[in-house]
Amino acid sequence: MNKNEGMSLIVKTITRLTVGLILLFGIYIVSRGHLSPGGGFAGGVIIALALVNLLLAYGTRGLKKFPLMAAEIIETIGALFFILISLFGLILFGVYFYNFLGTGRPFNLMSAGIILPANIAIALKVGAGLYGIVVALVLAKSLMEKK
């Protein structure tokens, strides 16, 4: 599999150092979705791109840490978590999608009720989904070249 070695040694070293920072930045944007621009979708894309960064630098060997099946499972867990949040309002209060966590003090991290868990669920789904799309297209291309 020498063709799939990936990029040069400098790129691999820098990627190893910065992937964690990019993931941390993505989580920061997700968790402050109700206070500043960003939110679930933008943070999810950043998380996905951090993992794609790893794939680009290391070639298909980089897939071993985070295989396609893990991406599929996390994606469906994110969607089911979102539906569970919306159903909590229905079961506990009788109104679908009700904001049951209450609002705290403004400008705090724990204000605006269910927006924070909903952002986390969206980030899980979008991040895993986008990573899954890129990996699936890469695998399809390498299957095509093998034929």
């Binding site: 500043s36 621009p37 979708f41 403004p106 400008f107 979008v126 986008l130 799309i133 699936a136 297209l137």
Partner: protein, 116 residues
């Protein structure tokens, strides 16, 4: 006013790319440019033209009232529309790769088995 005209030119670029190019990947790019133009149009509608535009975020020590902020509703709607555009583009690219597998070409004028 000039901004709306330039937006229409961007939409026109997308239509030109979609209609005149034969490569499937260039058609994907043309469709994406058209989607960006429509999303931009929706955001331009929320702009306040009386010179008092401010981004719609509250800080703990600011003195801007919400009458002076630009409209935040189009911005939230366009986030959803961008995600929908992403899903369509991803599906389009996946179908394009599978088409290459079956027909061995990306040229749209040779993928014409269904007619009549």
């Amino acid at each position: 006013m000039v901004v709306y005209l330039l937006n229409f030119v961007l939409f026109g670029c997308g239509v030109y790319a979609l209609m005149t190019r034969k490569n499937i990947i260039k058609m994907v790019i043309g469709l994406s440019i058209m989607e960006y133009a429509v999303n931009l149009f929706f955001i331009f509608l929320g702009y306040k033209t009386n010179g008092q535009y401010a981004f719609p975020i509250f800080f703990s020590d600011q003195k801007i009232s919400f009458n002076q902020m630009v409209d935040p509703l189009p911005q939230a709607l366009i986030l959803t529309a961008i995600v929908i555009g992403l899903a369509t583009t991803a599906l389009f690219v996946a179908i394009a790769i599978r088409l290459y597998e079956k027909y061995n070409t990306f040229d749209i004028s040779r993928i014409r088995r269904l007619r009549g």
